[in-house]
């Protein structure tokens, strides 16, 4: 079931085009990541879903409701994290959570929630004295205190150190495991890799790709490499995966097929059956990075963007964020 539906969304600020004809959806209980470089239109899109902005054109629906015209109904079901700010600078975490809990009919228990986000030892520290990661975790606590069905998180780990990010990602995964629909924006590929059930790549205000990580990778990546002892039977291995397998340098192999779970599994199984140790399988981060760069690179007019599993007809030649004459 689609909890979030965006159809032909356009957002313009005067002459500035922030979002142009974007369409995608997000499924219940899944983590959908809006990925894109800075200025791609992520925040404008998510602010339409949160009811802050009225779309210039197109429609958005959250839980079947128009967020702009029916925001009052939606505010009970939706939790949000703004890209920055949003909390009284002098408020203390326990006060903040209790305050927000009072807005909702059946909120989470404030102390248990602070425990859940790892702030139970910081309940009396003013917001402005918390670290970046602690501030974001409090922000997340306030987003979920009302037991929302959907959360919109605008760059939830921005300005947070590495271990803080891990913590926030774990919290987001556990929300999803509880059936909460999560939509978050990021320009951080490790975030996508760690969280996404579905990726929507935005660039210059339009959707350039939309699909599961696996779909995007298999649609856009044509090989993967791994390390193993030199001298393996590449003919037999190639026949098994249905493509060419080569050994361009001793101990490094390239399989000329997409790194789908099935392909990767067949290679690793074959190696296991031959009692061979595999190392440095290159099918993850680097590959996603190259997909991302390929999709968001400057596109020539007439080029059709590449789409993954949910690909729709490309709109070639869009100039995106541009001034209208």
């Amino acid at each position: 079931m689609s909890v979030v539906e965006v159809e032909h969304l356009a957002v313009r600020y005067g002459d500035l085009v922030a979002v142009d004809d974007a369409s995608f959806s997000a499924e219940q209980g899944r983590i959908t990541v809006l990925l894109g470089p800075n200025g791609a239109g992520k925040t404008s899109t998510i602010e339409c879903l949160e009811g802050y902005r009225r779309p210039t054109a197109g429609t958005v629906r959250v839980c079947g409701v128009n967020p702009w015209s029916d925001r009052g109904a939606l505010n009970r079901k939706v939790g949000i994290m703004l890209q920055d700010g949003g909390i009284y600078t002098a408020i203390r975490p326990l006060e903040a959570v209790r305050l927000f809990a009072s807005y909702y009919d059946s909120p989470r228990e404030p102390r248990a929630l602070l425990d859940f986000v790892g702030l139970s030892h910081r309940t009396e520290v003013p917001f402005r004295s918390l670290s970046g990661g602690e501030q974001q975790r409090l922000n997340l606590a306030l987003a979920i205190v009302g037991n929302p069905a959907v959360v919109f998180l605008d760059e939830p780990t921005a300005g947070v150190d590495v271990s803080g990010r891990q913590l926030i990602r774990e919290l987001i995964r556990s929300l999803s495991a509880d059936g909460v629909t999560v939509m978050l924006t990021t320009h951080d590929l490790t975030e996508v890799e760690a969280l996404a059930d579905r990726i929507v790549i935005l660039d210059n205000g339009g959707v350039v790709a939309d699909g599961t990580p696996d779909e995007l990778l298999s649609a856009n990546v044509s090989d993967f490499s791994f390390r193993a002892p030199t001298g393996l039977d590449v003919e037999a291995l190639g026949a098994l995966v249905g493509g060419s397998v080569t050994e361009p340098e001793p101990g490094r192999y390239v399989a000329g097929v997409a790194p789908t779970p099935a392909h990767v599994a067949s290679v690793t199984n074959w190696l296991a059956n031959h009692n061979v140790l595999i190392g440095d399988l290159q099918a993850g981060r680097q590959q996603l990075e190259s997909v991302f760069l390929k999709l968001t690179a400057e596109r020539e007019p007439g080029n059709t963007p590449t789409h993954g599993g949910h690909g729709r007809s490309g709109r070639g030649g869009r100039a995106g964020r541009r001034r209208r004459a």
Partner: protein, 241 residues
């Protein structure tokens, strides 16, 4: 109701926790009252300055809470995205506005309690029949200055609002007959100040609470006009980010 009370409590807590606001709300009015009652620095005709200063400073306290305290806190809440964030909760504008004004009134009550006790200790002998009228004037003043505060906080940036609110407060305090008796100002300044909200508020305070003084009807009209106009303007122009 639960949300309104929680919001009211947090508004009061945050105001009391803020040192600058405590200074503006309590120590400035109290300091002015004590200092000018005891030290004759103003070249004034007043034989007994505390009789003039006490009701005037009660007016000043209303202005400090509803203009400076409300305006600056709201301006920074807007600047830091707090108001935007609240917009995505079920709190809603009516309860937010009610909590804001409720907290201002609660602070004013505390200010008046302290200032009245101090004034009585300094030898003030108020006209007790004037209390109801002064309370009505305080409410009208709260609406007028509160509207002005929200109008500026909801349209200007964080720092511009801070500067404008403080500047306006100083100008209104000096020209409003709250420290210097109104009649002792130059005629041209009086003519302008009469049309602003501070001088009419001070006039009603002094007229109702000082023995032997009368309120000018014009002051009620001006004060009430501001009390209606600025909240309407604020509601019309206020933006949440």
């Amino acid at each position: 109701m639960k949300a309104l009370l929680a919001q009211l409590r947090i508004e009061i807590t945050l105001t009391v926790r803020n040192g600058e606001q405590l200074l503006v709300n309590l120590f400035i009015p109290l300091g002015l009252l004590v200092f000018f009652s005891k030290v004759e620095v103003l070249n004034s005709d007043e034989a007994d300055p505390v009789q003039f200063l006490s009701p005037a400073v009660l007016g000043l306290a209303v202005m400090s809470s509803s203009l400076v305290s409300l305006g600056i806190s709201t301006g920074f809440e807007r600047y830091y995205g707090v108001l935007k964030r609240l917009g995505a909760t079920p709190l809603g504008r009516p309860r937010w506005v009610a909590a804001k004004f409720g907290s201002v009134l609660a602070i004013e009550l505390a200010q008046w309690t302290v200032l009245i006790v101090a004034a009585l200790l300094l030898g003030w002998t108020p006209d007790h029949g004037g209390w109801p009228m002064s309370a009505v004037a305080a409410l009208l003043g709260t609406a007028a200055f509160g509207g002005l505060a929200l109008l500026m906080a909801g349209t200007l940036g964080g720092m511009a609002n801070l500067a404008a609110t403080n500047g306006l407060f100083l100008a209104l305090m000096v020209t409003g007959g709250m420290v210097v008796p109104f009649e002792e100002m130059p005629g041209a300044l009086q003519a302008v100040a009469k049309l602003l909200p501070a001088a009419p508020l001070a006039d009603v305070m002094i007229g109702s609470l000082r023995v032997g003084e009368q309120v000018h009807t014009g002051s009620w009209v001006t004060l009430a006009t501001w009390a209606v106009a600025t909240p309407i303007l604020a509601a019309w122009r206020f933006t949440w980010e």
